[in-house]
């Protein structure tokens, strides 16, 4: 869809749907076992429109007792012989594809809801978040029946093969900065590989996740496969992380909480842990780069999504001979950034997510000024209600300043100066984080040198924030454990089982299971006599054939 089409579609949608309609499509309860339920405690919490600071609605608040219920539902959905466990892998893929179709159908609505609850510009929600969500689900839909084990020529008279089996009940805890997208990143690989899910969504942004829950039910996932719990980290999140029946936990959020999750796993059942945490990602501009393009990309790298990106390019290293010009142009660009009502299609920047983040960012700005960085523009509040902050640029930033070391998660850009390649690689790597990095240069040698020298999970060359469902994403060092997206994303949700020639009966049944479970289009019909008929039309046909077989044998 071109941008023009997108805008047209959005306008069309807005003309038909007032803001008040939005909530009529939504449930505000917990989604457990494909049913809507109040919290056991009966508690609710308010979710807030960050553009106004007003309460949108009350949502049921899950805590430990609800996690318990959800884990029971998910375990039951995962029991041996359950519909989910017996489902053809290709059909799991088909369900994910149908979920993508349903989300695509309701994209305008979901984008509106996302903007209302999160504050991101509607144009971005509709043109970036939603298509990315749909693509992610379609991508993993395709993997479901392609996640292949191996047969292995081991020494001796043995036959050896591996099966890629689901891990089991997966706890997933997602953040508020890309509510829909993070949900898709988590659900896609977990469901493609056959796991069941207990997902806690961020208390700031529960609404779109709940709508997607209703779509999950609509497209036909068996009950208990996906359970969605709005709730707080210290209660519901902690209950998931330390639960003895949760086999795996995946968390996206702050490094601080990442430490807690890893500890909780260690002190409970050693559940598998994957973490996508914070970053302080270096963005390195060499003097031979296309200046105008590098300025625009670096602006985007930091300010995208109100600066609320774990991979934000928040240390912009610029080579000395082009430093002044770069700063000047960056300030010019930041001043032009349109801040305002996120439903206005011209808006580039909406509000920050909540009062806490708002205060924290303003605190960092003060520290920057205090520690001697040069405030080139912005630095203040951008509206008298809601959590808007002016696009802010600091020049003359030194590596030891707080704003150069800590994750700000707001619209605050730090520009640092460097002289040589060796120097910048050392400085860029001098951080506990290692999520992403970028280098802008026309020189292939320099690009290779810097990109192989950087300690980061993703390196962009002459671009920034380029994501594809196909390419893995994750952090070195304290930025995380494991990789999401791509084929690599499947590893997190898979146990590898090695089967060697074991007592004869067992291997035999495994072989038969293997053979019979591989979705056999011909076999389904041809081996009619083997499978007991079920109550669908095809089964009637099978029954019909079987009867005939029986007649022949009578």
């Amino acid at each position: 869809m071109t941008r023009a089409e997108m805008v047209l579609s959005a306008l069309f949608y807005q003309s038909r749907c007032t803001r008040n309609d939005v909530l009529t499509f939504l449930m505000f309860q917990l989604f457990i076992n494909n049913e809507w339920q109040d919290a056991v405690s009966g508690k609710t919490f308010p979710t807030i429109n960050p553009a106004s600071g007003e309460v949108i609605c009350q949502v049921a608040e899950a805590d430990e007792a609800d996690v318990e219920k959800a884990v029971k539902a998910a375990s039951n959905a995962f029991r041996l012989g359950s519909p989910w466990r017996r489902m053809d892998a290709s059909h799991r893929g088909l369900l994910l594809n149908r979920l993508a179709d349903a989300i695509e159908r309701d994209a305008a609505y979901l984008a509106e809801l996302e903007t209302l609850d999160n504050g991101k510009p509607y144009a971005v929600a509709y043109a970036v978040d939603l298509p990315t969500v749909v693509k992610c689900l379609r991508y993993y839909a395709g993997w479901a029946d392609k996640w292949e084990g191996k047969t292995i020529p081991i020494d001796g008279d043995y036959f050896c093969y591996t099966r890629h089996e689901p891990v089991g009940v997966c706890g997933q805890i997602i953040p508020w900065n890309f509510p829909l997208l993070m949900q898709a990143w988590k659900l896609g690989p977990a469901l493609a590989t056959g796991n069941t899910v207990v997902m806690k969504v961020a208390e700031q942004t529960p609404l779109t996740a709940l709508y997607v829950a209703s779509l999950i039910k609509e497209v036909g996932f068996p009950e208990g496969v996906v359970n969605i719990l709005p709730g707080m980290g210290p209660t519901a999140g902690a209950a998931i992380a330390r639960h003895m029946d949760v086999d795996k936990v995946a968390f996206t959020g702050s490094t601080e909480v990442g430490h807690l999750i890893q500890q909780a796993s260690g002190s409970s059942n050693l559940k598998k842990v994957t973490l996508e945490l914070g970053g302080k990602s270096p963005n390195i501009i060499l003097s031979d780069a296309d200046m105008e393009y590098a300025v625009e990309q670096s602006h985007f790298a930091l300010f995208f999504n109100q600066g609320q990106c774990c991979c934000a390019g928040s240390r912009t290293y610029v080579q000395a001979d082009v430093y002044d010009e770069f700063v000047e142009r960056s300030v010019e660009r930041a001043k032009k950034r349109v801040v305002g009502d996120p439903f206005d299609l011209k808006t580039e920047q909406g509000p920050q997510i909540d009062q806490e983040q708002f205060n924290k960012i303003l605190g960092y700005i003060s520290s920057g000024k205090r520690e001697g960085a040069k405030l080139m523009c912005g630095g203040g509040i951008a509206a008298d209600r809601g959590y808007f902050i002016q696009p802010t640029v600091f020049g003359d930033v030194q590596d030891n300043m707080t704003i150069a070391r800590e994750e700000i998660f707001g619209p605050v850009m730090q520009i640092l100066k460097f002289k040589t390649l060796e120097e910048v690689v050392t400085r860029a790597n001098d951080t506990k984080y290692g999520l992403a990095a970028a280098v802008f240069t026309k020189d292939i040698d320099k690009a290779n040198y810097v990109s192989s020298g950087l300690r980061a999970g993703t390196v962009w060359i002459n671009c920034y924030d380029v994501f594809g469902a196909q390419a893995p994403f994750g952090g070195y060092k304290a930025s995380g454990v494991g990789r999401e997206l791509g084929q690599y994303g499947l590893d997190n949700y898979t146990e590898v089982k090695t089967v060697n020639t074991v007592p004869i009966k067992n291997l035999f049944s495994a072989l038969v299971v293997c053979l019979l479970h591989t979705s056999l289009p011909l076999c389904t019909v041809l081996s009619a006599a083997v499978f007991p008929p079920k109550n669908d039309k095809k089964a009637k046909f099978l029954l019909f054939s079987t009867k005939k077989f029986n007649l022949q044998n009578a």
Partner: protein, 547 residues
Amino acid sequence: MHQSGGTASASPTERKHYSLSSQPANGYEHQSGNGFNHQDHNSQNADGLETNALPTPIANPQIVYTKVFIGNEWHESCSGRKIPVYNPTTEKLLCEVEEADSDDVDKAVRSARAAFQMGSPWRSMDASDRGHLLNRLADLVERDRLLLATLEALNCGKVFLMAYFVDLMATIKTLRYYSGWADKIHGKTIPVDGEYFTYTRHEPIGVCGQIIPWNFPLMMFVWKIAPALCCGNTVVIKPAEQTPLSALHMAALIKEVAGFPPGVVNVLPGYGQTAGCAISHHMDIDKVAFTGSTAVGKLIQKAAGESNLKRVTLELGGKNPNIVFADCDLEYAVEQAHSGLFFNQGQCCLAGSRVFVEEPIYEEFVRRSVEKARSKVLGNPLLPGVDQGPQIDQKQFDKIMELIESGKREGATLECGGSPGGQQGLFIQPTVFSNVRDHMRIAKEEIFGPVQQIMCFRSINEVIQRANATQYGLAAGVFTNDINKALTVSSALQAGMVWVNCYNAMSIQCPFGGFKMSGNGRELGEYALQEYTEIKAVTIRISQKSS
């Protein structure tokens, strides 16, 4: 309980649901158990599968598409000639379609080449979008499932319900499967020695000629186009002259999907000696894939050698051993061996046409197999209750009858059948031969008809040796409850597929192809992607290596 109904029916955009419903593969959607769940699966109701009646063929479907499909447009053939297309059940003319020959092939290749030019819409399309197009094509096939199954039954003589449940399901699943691969065909980065950085790209080969047979017209069509398109190739495909109708309908759907650029798929009904030959000899076709007889496979390989060394993949004939040990579940083995041979009127390259049965159960096995064969109902494949239709044409009919005669003459025991089924038409009675010896023609040549050969064996080594004593190596079956026998025999057989305690257990995820003269290369599964990609290794000099 229908909370989510609000989201489904009152969806804010009020757009129509996609018609996504597919036959639930194993009926498991109903295993979740308590009945009322059904209402939630509203998308399943779209094509009426939840109602009680079996699907029924469309009465007298209008045949709309009869021309050559080049560059997303319908063309008359250059020569003006037409092919008569028959209904093998009645032997009456169904319609005439335009007959492509070498001039039309040239035209199609130009169109496919243009679509493959660097910078073309097809070459610059995201891989995931290629995948999405295949998925949308699957949606349309699902929508037209009844019509396509009817066309298959009319044009090919297939039992309608088989066409509906087997051919169409496989068609839809194949398209969806390769739709998923499009953006997962990974190259590698390779830690080469020296100050270099090396990576590989898996690139499409280019213009692919594809020549398909008449026994599974629709399924073969998608087995060929789906992996080719998923890898980014363009296609010139020739359906068999006997069965062009479903392929032409697919061409219309490809156009309807609105996203396949002109020239990406070109469909040319035509004869092997003219159009097929032109494809395999063409200097501007980069690859040819053929499914059909071993005799023609050799011609294709030769043509590639004589012209531009185009890549060749071949799926050819078989004389597949199906080995039944005395310790198996006899009733089940008889049933599987029966359907393993008689499925699709015996017109399968996979047909288990040499059934080796261990001596202790030989007589009983023959007795039960004959019983089963006798109970088969021949008739109009569009009618319910019929389980065997006509052979495809007079030529095949004559060939099968001639081989049956040779079996009698060479001393095999004709247990049942052996004659035409009924007074007229191309029907042949289900036929079973016992006491078949390995040197007989019916034990060596591919019959491609409803004729089952049952042989006797004594030892495992003997049967392995006899099963492998053939020029073919497509498929094989083994029935036993003994794990050691199963593993020994399945390792020793020279065949591209070995089924243990099942037969014809095919799936899109699983590769398919032949050893020896049964073919070159593999279709289906991830393996098929190799047949449609060229690997390019890019090595870049770097200033300093870093591990």
